[in-house]
């Protein structure tokens, strides 16, 4: 019953979920959901440029997402506009420039819906190698950067004062985000990448007692959502990318239900009630 393409989709999706979990935790701790969106939307400009310049798609998306995040860092330093206004400008300009470039290239026919929502069922073995190879690289980098990243999430000046380098950690974090978006685009698509980052992490918060546990839980919940979404899409013939997001949402809603465990937690912790 399980075809090869289905197994490949499962392996690829779980690989992405493993990486998206810890990265997504930082996205919500740092209140950077909109930043993730902006990078994902800029991926369409990457797609357009890869077609125009005949570059590898993943590399092109990675470069554009990196440039957009560096541009954001630069504009933030100038300090004229607030970060969310800058993100709004960058996000929609990149998306629109990408669409305009695509429209000019009358000689190419691209499946826009495929890029927006992804096509996990078309994953090849080479894709799986990239996903797992890149994924392991991202996880190792995160382990290495964990302390400075976490400390600067709590307070960048504190991290800096006590000898960690928050600016460097932040730069690497943005590059890791760009990498994950480039890799994940094919699976869930541009519009749904951020949901795979955010929803499992938000679900994990309820059950986590430390940042590290939350990161691991987010990975597991993401993997569960991928499996659930894929089986659902097979069962009911629904589009795979959105089905994965719906499965993640279902898990999130489940996590909101009152459970004995969390009541105990709120009793044992010091009550400020």
């Amino acid at each position: 019953m399980l075809d090869d393409f289905f197994i490949r989709a499962l392996v690829a999706g779980i690989g992405i979920a493993m990486v998206a979990g810890p990265l997504g935790c930082f996205v919500i701790w740092r209140r950077m959901a909109y930043f993730g969106d902006t990078m994902a939307h800029s991926a369409l400009l990457g797609v357009a440029l890869s077609l125009l310049l005949e570059l590898n798609l993943m590399i092109s998306v990675f470069i554009v997402a990196s440039v957009v995040s560096l541009l954001l860092l630069f504009l933030q330093k100038r300090g004229a506009l607030s970060t969310d206004a800058l993100l709004g400008i960058l996000s929609h300009s990149a998306l629109s420039i990408g669409l305009v470039i695509v429209a000019f290239m009358t000689w190419v026919r691209i499946d826009l819906v495929g890029f927006l929502f992804g096509d996990i069922l078309a994953v090849t073995e080479a894709d799986i190698d990239i996903i797992w190879g890149g994924g392991i690289l991202v996880i190792l980098s995160l382990v290495y950067l964990w302390r400075p990243l976490l400390a600067s999430t709590v307070n960048p000046e504190l991290a800096e004062a006590e000898g960690l380098r928050p600016e460097r950690a932040r730069l690497f974090f943005m590059l890791l985000m760009a990498l994950v978006i480039a890799i994940a685009m094919k699976i869930v698509g541009i519009l749904l990448i951020t949901s795979l980052l955010i929803i499992p992490a938000a679900t994990a918060r309820r059950f986590a007692t430390s940042p590290e546990i939350m990161a691991v839980l987010a990975s597991l919940i993401g993997a569960l959502a991928v499996a659930g979404g894929l089986f659902g899409s097979l069962q009911w013939d629904t589009p795979s990318g959105p089905s994965i997001v719906v499965a993640a949402l279902a898990l999130f809603v489940l996590s909101l239900l009152p459970l004995a465990r969390s009541e105990r937690a709120s009793h044992s912790s010091h009550g400020g009630h």
Partner: protein
């Protein structure tokens, strides 16, 4: 503790004519002071006077745009920032907070939490702590690192009066036990910790400086704050006779406006406190400085 590379005579940090400029405006200029081991320096000044900027410049978070900041090599800093909000989405217990910027042994964590009276809260999430408990947790985190220099930016904010005295008592004990230098920023313009060796009053520049010891012994002070406070707090009383306008000019008490508060501008009022008060000879920026009960303190000392 004694350290061969930096004997007690070498300041941990010294600022010489340091200034920080942002968006074409000087946040603070001409800052001069140093902190040695076992010394407590308190920065006071109105809002926006550059206290936090000065502290951040001292520990290297901000780079001075003029002047020099010298630190001993490998200076180990413990920092309690002025504002620290941990997002609810981040599950962080007091215990995990301890090792935020570096690894610690279990024993070191316990000692620091016990010293600040937070050991029973080790498993509590920081978001559930009250203002005073959170400040004590942050202080525990900073001292657990066994720093050479402890920098506390308004450590008693959100703490009630008796809690404030207890915290100052604790800071004193930390200094006495570990011999670290302490840079303290006071949230109150007039009340500083009695153990302070030097008070530096900032108002965009160093306005005046002095020692608060004499004050805490005065009857006037005891009457005001009660016997319990006597060991911990001191009044550093003074008032500024000029205000720094947003455009950088200076509004004086008599209504005149000048480009800067340069020496000898005719607005300089010293009074009887000069003997006690280690007022900068070249300050000249026009402060009316007086220490409460100076006479009484003098008699007691004699």
């Amino acid at each position: 503790m004694l350290n061969f590379r930096s004997p007690d005579t070498t300041p941990l940090v010294s600022l010489a004519n340091a200034g920080v400029r942002r968006n074409g405006r000087w946040l603070v200029r001409g800052v001069e002071f140093s902190i040695s081991r076992g010394e407590i320096v308190t920065l006071i000044g109105p809002n926006g006077s550059g206290k936090s900027t000065t502290a951040k410049t001292a520990i290297g978070v901000l780079k001075p745009d003029e002047g020099r900041v010298e630190r001993v090599p490998n200076l180990r800093v413990g920092y309690v920032p002025q504002r620290l909000a941990v997002d609810w989405t981040l599950p962080l217990t007091v215990e995990r907070l301890m090792t935020l910027t570096g690894p610690l042994k279990g024993r070191e964590i316990e000692e620091a939490l016990a010293a600040t009276g937070m050991l029973h809260m080790a498993k509590a999430e920081v978001q559930h702590l009250s203002g005073g408990e959170f400040q004590r947790a942050l202080l525990a985190r900073a001292i657990a690192r066994k720093p050479d220099l402890l920098v506390l930016d308004e450590p008693v904010q959100g703490v009630d009066f008796s809690g404030e005295i207890a915290l100052y008592e604790l800071i004193k004990q930390i200094r006495n036990r570990t011999g670290c230098g302490i840079l303290l920023i006071s949230h109150d313009l007039h009340i500083v910790m009695a153990e302070t060796d030097t008070v530096v009053c900032l108002n965009g520049h160093v306005c005046c400086r002095g020692t608060p010891q004499a004050v805490s012994q005065s009857p006037e002070y005891l009457k005001l704050f009660g016997r319990r406070a006597a060991g911990a707090l001191a009044v550093y009383s003074h008032h500024h006779d000029h205000t720094h306008l947003p455009d950088g000019r200076v509004l004086h008490a008599d209504g005149s406006i000048t480009e800067s508060c340069f020496p000898g501008d005719g607005h300089h009022h010293h009074d009887e406190a000069e003997n006690v008060h280690d007022h900068d000879a070249d300050c000249g920026c026009g402060h009316h400085t007086r220490l409460h009960g100076y006479d009484a303190a003098e008699k007691r000392d004699a």
